[in-house]
């Protein structure tokens, strides 16, 4: 971490998910000064909510540990959490950026001892677990949060709970009068790595996400699979907390659909295949858990093909080429009934499952138009490379529907594009 004052040779990176962290570190490790801005209280972003990565089935936190050590070791990186970009003015090589920082109510004295959380009684929905469970209103976002520092939810400010938290802290880390602050910085180039959001599943009306308890999204399932998640690694039906045995995956939930997202979100096929292996393995002792994947096309590109073949060989996983028409609920059992037609040879089905998982599509968290006026975007709002964008570069899932590997490639490329600009600034300043 650095104390250097940002200049026109500084690169600003917006978003500290894996793309933003990568772009920031790659640039910093080339000797550039970087300011990294993250909206939430911790770095990590979307991947920190993933239990495992396909196809290696490794843990996202493992790579995050390395990146956190790289951040520790970097003397060129400055991180602002709970911060958002308020405005950007200027031009390539010379931007003035205003960053708004929300109060954390906990300063750098925090030792992450957890006394405040013990003292506080109020609970809030746990955003890390997609609100599937609750967490104390003084909390650390997740096990590997970085910075490793607590945060107070604004809802308790002014209450007794806040006072209790303050009194419990022996280190003067809690500042209840902390206020929103604005920081003005200079930057030569800006990398926009604000990542993606799952498409609003409730908008896909025939699937009844907003009506039926046992229709969930793939991200919610991912949290359930995590042993440190809201269900301790068990796949529990929201309606009755019973372990789901027959699980249906609905591909292209929102994606490839002119009524919703016109693009293909790329990751969802592999995500469902990955989750199906978890189901097969998790319940392999009882061996009665089955997965059914309803799909239009299975899109497992390059060596991911191996993964598809592996899953197809698993007799507990069934593939049905069909976009599910609609879901109804069996009132008594709470089961979901999927209706549709297997288009390979025309077979109609009304299949009852314990749980339906929507392989939900990806849309940019911040649409290109919201990044700045005149920033080029495609019709889904992903940032497009364009000469008129100046030195504002999209990276990762802000720029396209990408898997982690490709997002990191994209972020690394964005880092170089930014470096080209700031090196140009440096050369001009050296010459003048």
């Amino acid at each position: 971490m650095t104390d250097a004052v940002p200049t026109n040779e500084t690169i600003l990176v917006v978003g500290a998910g894996i793309s933003g962290v990568t772009a920031a570190l790659e640039a910093a490790e080339c000797g550039k000064d970087v300011v990294l801005v993250e909206k939430s209280p911790s770095v990590g972003g979307r991947v920190a909510q993933l239990y495992k990565y396909f196809p290696k089935m490794c843990r996202p936190l493992c790579g995050q540990e390395i990146n956190q050590r790289r951040m520790d070791a970097s003397r060129r990186l400055r991180l602002y959490t709970m911060a958002e970009i308020e405005s950007v003015t200027g031009e390539a090589g010379n931007y003035d950026v205003s960053i708004r920082i929300r109060p954390r109510y906990v300063n750098e004295n925090c030792t992450a001892c957890g006394a405040c959380a013990d003292a506080v009684e109020a609970e809030i929905k746990n955003p890390h677990n997609l609100n599937l469970n609750a967490v104390k209103a003084a909390y650390i976002p997740y096990s590997m949060s970085y910075p490793q520092r607590y945060v107070l939810d604004p809802s308790i400010i002014g209450t007794d709970d806040a006072q209790k938290a303050k009194e419990a802290c022996q280190y003067g880390a809690i500042e209840l009068d902390m206020e929103e602050a604005t920081v003005e910085i200079k930057a030569g180039a800006i990398i926009w790595a604000t990542g993606w959001n799952p498409y609003d599943a409730a908008k896909i009306q025939p699937y009844g996400y907003d009506r039926y308890d046992n229709v969930i999204t793939s991200l919610e399932l991912e949290r359930m699979m995590d042993p440190s998640g809201p269900t301790g690694g068990r796949i529990l039906r929201p309606s009755d907390n019973r372990e789901a045995r027959s699980i249906a995956f609905i591909q292209c939930a929102g994606s490839r659909d002119q009524n919703h997202l016109s693009h293909c979100s790329r990751i969802c096929c592999m995500a469902s295949l990955k989750q199906s292996t978890y189901i097969s393995e998790k319940y392999s002792i009882d061996s009665d858990a089955t997965t059914t994947i309803y799909y239009i096309d299975i899109r497992t590109i390059d060596r991911l093909e191996d993964f598809q073949k592996r899953v197809q060989a698993d007799e507990k996983v069934r593939f049905i080429k069909s976009k599910v028409a609609n879901i109804t609920e069996d009132r008594i059992s709470g089961d979901v009934v999927l209706h549709g037609v297997n288009t390979e040879g025309y077979q109609r089905y009304d299949n009852q499952h314990d749980l339906a998982v929507l392989a939900i599509g990806m849309e940019p968290s911040v649409r290109a138009g919201a990044v700045g006026s005149g920033i080029a975007g495609d019709k889904s709002g992903f940032i497009q490379a364009d000469a008129n964008n100046g030195a504002i570069f999209g990276a990762g899932c802000a720029a396209n529907a990408l898997d982690v590997n490709r997002a990191v490639q994209s972020a690394t490329a964005a880092a170089l594009r930014a470096i080209q600009v700031v090196n140009g600034v440096a050369a001009t300043e050296a010459g003048s």
């Binding site: 080429k321 028409a325 209706h339 549709g340 109609r348």
Partner: protein, 207 residues
């Protein structure tokens, strides 16, 4: 499935697809189908379709002209529009189904004993006669379309409903004797005749 009705030369070539595009209402959308099957699954009459919409679209691409135009399937469409609102490609499936039915009918290839088709014909004859639907005569025609005894039987079954409608002035038995349609039905009929001629000429329908 029988593949003999298509000459080798036309199979999977675009001749029938083009014919559909040229002659069927909204037929140019057929090629946009990606075979997801959401239409087929969404249809409330689905189980009664020999070939659901997405399959019909594939058959059109495969050049199965006789099988497509001769099937009862598209006559099953009740215009609920479930398929249209769910289609990820925004294909106006309902319209295409009616377009296909109409096209088959015009070519004389439609199945002869299909009830939906017969209802449609009775309805059309009725409305085009006076410019308005004469519900009384329409009901009678419908009841008796399968013969006298079947008509009596159906009328007895529906007697209570009919009486109710009569009491609430929804059904006028006098309309059987004299029904006042639009002011000048002859004019309407000649307009329809002309339109039909133009369409037939443009699309090359027989007679």
């Amino acid at each position: 499935m029988n593949d003999n009705n298509t000459a080798m030369i036309d199979k999977y070539r675009n001749s029938f697809l083009r014919e559909v595009e040229d002659n069927v209402e909204q037929g140019e959308w057929v090629k946009m189908c990606m075979q997801c099957g959401v239409c087929s699954g969404s249809c409330p009459f689905g189980p009664h379709w020999e070939h659901p919409p997405q399959e019909l679209f594939m058959m059109i691409r495969a050049g199965k002209r006789d099988a497509v135009l001769g099937t009862e399937s598209m006559w099953m469409c009740t215009s609920c529009y479930n398929c249209v609102v769910r289609c990820p490609r925004e294909i106006p499936i309902t319209h295409i189904m009616h377009g296909l039915a109409n096209y088959a009918h015009r070519l004389g290839l439609a199945p002869k004993v299909n009830p939906t088709r017969r209802f449609a014909k009775i309805f059309w004859d009725n409305i085009s006669k006076n410019g308005r639907v004469n519900e009384t005569s329409l009901s009678i025609k419908l009841y008796f379309m399968d013969g006298y005894s079947a008509g009596v039987k159906r009328a007895v079954e529906m007697a209570n409903t009919g009486l109710g409608m009569f009491r609430t002035k929804r059904l006028n038995p006098l309309a059987l004797i004299s029904y006042k349609g639009i002011e000048n039905p002859k004019q309407l009929q000649s307009m329809l005749k002309k339109a039909r001629e133009i369409e037939g000429r443009r699309k090359g329908y027989p007679g």
